[in-house]
Structure formats: C-alpha cells, structure tokens
C-alpha cells in the first residue's frame, strides 16, 4: 500500500466516521438550538433507531425482500426506524422535558440524564445485554478507488448522510415550519407573539433531530454489523463534542464539527500513538472552546441572547 493510497484510505475513513458523527450531532444541535437543553438521551434514541432497524431488516430478510426488493427494503428500514424514534422523541419531550422548560438548566439536564439511564436500561432489558447482529445485506465487497478500499455500504451511507443533511438545511431555511423553528430558537417570546405555536415547533424539532439520530443508528448497524444497548454512549460523547465544537445551535457547525472530530480521530490513530486518540479529541475541543468560546461557526454569546 503506497503512501498516497494510504492517505486516501484514511481520508475515506475520516469522511465516513465524520458523517456519522455529524448526523448525530445535528440532533443535539437542533434540540439545543430550540430549547437550550443538552438532550442526554439522544444517544439512546440513536440506539433505539438501530434496534428498530435490525428488527425490520431481519423481518424483511426472512420474507426474502432483501434479494428481491433491495432498495425498497432499505427505504422501509430507514423509514420505520426514523418514524419510530420520532415518536419516541416526541414522547420523551412531552414526558421529561416539557414540564421543565422554564426550570433551571441543571434540573433539565438531570431529567435528560435520568431518561438516558431509563432508556438504556429499558433497551437492555428488552433487547438483551449482548450484541444483536445486523444482517449483512451489503456483503464485504469493496470498490478499489485508487488503492483505497471503499465498501458498498460506505458509499451508500455517505450519500444518504449527505442527502439527509442537505434535506435538513433545505427544511430549516426554505419551509415555513423550518423558519418558525429557527425563530423559536432565537427568541421564544417574540415567536409566540407572532403567532407561532412553540409547542408544535419544539415537537417537530424533537421529531427531526432524533429521526436523524435514528438514521445514523441504522447506518452504524449496517456498516459495523451489530447493535447493543449501550453503544449510544460513546457516539453521544463524540457527537456532543462535535456539536459544541462547531458551535451548538448551528446546523452547518454540527456537520463541520462532526467531520473535524472524525478527522482528528482518524488522523491521530493513523500517524501517532493510538492510545492517546481520545485525549487528543478532547484537548482539541477544549482548545477551540478556549480560543473561541462560541465554537467554530457559533454566534457569540451576546448575539445568541438577542
């Protein structure tokens, strides 16, 4: 493997990992943007999506659709997983976050943390403590791209992640609801004075953010081959870091943050002692926040309050 192929391969690795982080980070950023709450349970929503994905996919495989209707199968798997988690997200918002909308930050944070523990253990009790294997519908074949190996699933996943991100950007900037969401995020009181039903907008945020997380969950399952009740945690920490690095509340920021965190991880593991990979990720995060406290693409504190 020559050096250029090596670099190219690592770039592909980084892009792939970064896209997953970005997709999860979007959920954090959207929820944070609108109610200024770190949704600690987001990692569990992501895991729930992965579980529904494997349930649906196994079912469809059994009736033979994977062979006969491959594209439709994927469509159904992603659709159902995202729909399920959207419902779960709405329920979560209604039960655990809405009553605390005006309470102190800490109470809301702990409520979210409580839900995270609840969901994670609930999934452990229902889905078992061990890995659940994802049917390998994409196989192990890879495309040789100038010496770098890109698997079929990676191509599909990167494309889908890109489509989802563009779709979200379109929704938030071009549709009436999306604009109402941004307005609510910027100034809830004024948004209400303009007739925006903020309960509804917050509900929609809690559908879209977690649904994107669910999509990421299915992607992780499809590529890495397994899902387990506690897999959300490590993705949560990284995606959370990505969202803050990019400037929490900012959608392009979350994408950028995800790609950067993925990039740092891969680059460090590729060239330097891999044991210190996570130390580096967190150090970079702290340095960035120290130098630019609002994150890379975030607006400054004063601006956010207007």
């Amino acid at each position: 493997m020559d050096f250029s192929a090596f670099i190219l391969q690592q770039m592909v690795n980084a892009l792939f990992l970064g896209s997953i982080y970005a997709l999860i980070a979007l959920g954090y950023t959207m929820v944070y943007g609108i109610i200024e709450l770190i949704n600690f349970a987001h990692g569990e929503l992501f895991t729930a999506g992965a579980f529904i994905g494997v349930i649906v996919l196994s079912g469809l495989q059994q009736i033979g659709w994977v062979e006969t209707h491959f594209v439709l199968t994927l469509f159904i798997v992603f659709g159902l997983a995202m729909a399920y988690v959207a419902v779960l997200g709405v329920a979560l918002e209604h039960v655990a976050y809405r009553p605390l909308r005006n309470a102190s930050r800490l109470s809301a944070l702990l409520s979210a943390l409580g839900m995270s523990i609840f969901l994670s253990n609930g999934m452990m009790l229902s889905q078992g403590v061990s890995d659940r294997a994802y049917p390998q519908v994409f196989g192990l074949e890879s495309i040789d791209f100038f010496g770098a190996m890109i698997s079929h699933s990676q191509v599909f996943i990167i494309l889908l992640a890109f489509v989802l991100m563009v779709g979200l950007q379109f929704f938030v900037h071009r549709t009436r609801l999306g604009k109402a969401m941004r307005a609510t995020a910027q100034n809830r009181t004024i948004a209400r004075m303009l007739g925006i039903n903020i309960d509804q907008t917050i509900r929609i945020t809690f559908m879209i953010g977690p649904a994107l997380g669910a999509a990421a969950g299915v992607m992780v399952g499809l590529y890495y081959g397994a899902v387990r009740f506690d897999m959300g945690f490590i993705f949560m920490i990284k995606a959370f870091a990505a969202a803050i690095l990019g400037g929490i509340g900012s959608i392009p920021g979350a994408v950028l943050g995800g790609l950067i965190i993925g990039g740092i991880e891969v680059a460090w593991a590729a060239f330097l002692p891999s044991a210190w990979k996570d130390v580096t990720t967190f150090t970079v995060l702290i340095l960035v926040l120290y130098l630019k406290p609002s994150g890379l693409l975030g607006e400054s504190e004063a601006d956010l309050r207007v």
């Binding site: 294997a133 506690d230 002692p273």
Partner: protein, 373 residues
Amino acid sequence: MKKLALLTLSLVLALGIGTAAGKELKIGTLSPLTGPYAQDGTDIKQGVITAVDAFSPVKGFDNVEVLPGDSACDGGKATMAANKLINSGVDVVVGAYCSSATEPAQIPLMDAGVVQITPGSTAERLTHKGYDHFFRMPPRDDVQAWSTVEFLTKKQGVKTIALIDDKQTYTAGLTENIRKFAEDNGNLEIVAHEHITPGDSDFTAVLTKLKRISPDVIYMAVYQPEGSKMIQQARKLDVDATFMTEDAVFHPKFLEVAGSAAEGVYLTFAKAPETPERKAFEEMYKKKWNVDSIGSYAYYAYDAAMVALKAAEKCGCTDAETLSKTIRGTTWEGVSGEIKFDEKGDRELAHIIWVVKDNQFVPYWDPITGKDL
C-alpha cells in the same frame, strides 16, 4: 482505640455468625450483571444456577442456595457485593469476572474465610498472593500468551506480528505477555502495538495503519463486541494478514455478528472435551435459559460451582480450610476438561488453538503436543 475496634469487630462477627449456621450450602456469584460486560456476567450467573440444578440435592445438606451478586466490574461495588455475600453467610463465591473487581473483592472474601473461584479473571498476580482459598478456572494470561506465541512461531512460522489491545486490565496484560514471550522466543518481531477504545465501533484508522505496515499476523486482544466489528472492517479494507485473537472473543456472538468475515480467524481457548457431561450440560443450559448458544464463561462458571458442590459433598463441610483442601486434593471431571489445581490455585490447563471454519469454532492445533487436532 484498638480495644474499641476489637470490641466492635467481635460484636460484628458475633452478629454475622448468628446468621451463618444451619445445614445449608450457600454459593454466591460475583459478576457484572449491569454495564458493558453484563453479557458474560449473566452467563456466569446462569452457569452457576445450572450447576446447582444439576447436582442438587447435595448429600449432607438440606438445601443449596445461589445468591447472585453484581460486581459491575467496579472495585467499590465489588467489595460491597462481596461483603453482602459474606453477611448472607456464603461458603463459596464464584466470581468475579473483571480482574479489577476480583482483586478488591479478594480481600474481604479471604479475610472472612470464603472460598473464591474465579471463572473469568486471568491476571497472573491474583493467584500469586498466597491466598489458600482462591482458585481460578481459566488459564492465566501468560499461559495463553505462551500458547499463542508457540502457535505462531512453530506452526505458522510467521515473522512479524502487530498487536491491538483495548487497554483493559485483561487485554493489556495479554499483549504485555505476548511481547515478553515473543522477545524471549526471538523469532517473532512485534512491528506495531496499537490501542483502541473499548466501546468504539470504528477501527478503520488503526487497521489501515496496520495494512500499510503489513505484518504477517494481527493479534486482536479485545472483547467480543469490538472483535466482531474489527474483523469485518479488516475484511472490507482488504487487510492481507492472518488474524488471531483470544478467549474473550471466543463466543457464539462473534460468529453471529462477524458472519463470513470471521472465516479463518485463529483463537486461543481451552479444549472442549467431547464428554457426555458436556453434552448434557449444553442441552440443559439451552433448555433452561431458552438460548441457542452458550457463552464461554458459562462453562467455567458451571465447573466452578460443580467443583464447590462436589467438594462440599465429599468432605461434608463448609469451612474454607477443609473445603479448599478437598478442592485442591482431588481431580475433577469438568465440562471444560480435567480440573486439577496446583498449590497456587491455578489449573493445569492450557489453551489449544481454534480456527473459524464454516462459521464454527473448530479445534486446530495443540501447543503442548505440537500436533494438529
């Protein structure tokens, strides 16, 4: 102060003993029933319960009770759980799983005079502390490392190896031992030593790095969840090396998750004797717990409980002194092979090399005899 402490101690002991009497045998388990290793922890608990079911009633005892404890792989929780078991008057504890839980739990258990048999902890020093009542079912890290290096140099004849571990007590101890044996051996060069984070899913960066170095063998000292993901990614990246791993990956889940990617992976694990007892245990276990496959630690846990029960039956006793002597002085026929403990409490058991073939673990080579299986 000393007097006061002694007074309190004697009072507490008096209270404790009050509950421990009666012709009852109590077996405690210590294993992670919550947290990331809950799968193996549950296997251990179920293995012990299966053994008690299989061998009850035990002659000379009215009743055998199993008390499951959750060590959560955490030192503080493990000592609390151990103390709880001691207070319930356990005679034998099967556990713990993580060395980081076994080590702190050893102190109160040994102090209280309880026989401890670990079904999972392989750190060498656990049996090197001079405890008389401590036994270990699986082979030690150094035994496993020795088998691995033997296999790679004698059977495979490879020259270079890259190590990956996830920096846990077990895995780091294992790679350290492999390094030692490889250096002693002189024919096996360690060309890279990488680390991953437990719980991570993406190992492509490290695997790509190793692909470039292109060692003959990549040794994965990780647990099953990481192992199954890593091998899949390695196949997708088209890494051209032999993959070898250890007993923590030797789990049916590995085959299920990794699927065709697992083909050709070598593993070290104890010999599986083709005995009727083992067959009977497997059938019973599958039926009782409604599962299709059995986790590897269930075998060790079953054997640990079996040894405890049979020893108690044989000596008709529950005190640690006599019980330990009985356990040590007898050769037992277990589902994980013959069980004979040396004076330190270790089994004279070596790993054999297994290979994944047609999505099955198949015995491949025996490092002691140097013969194919």
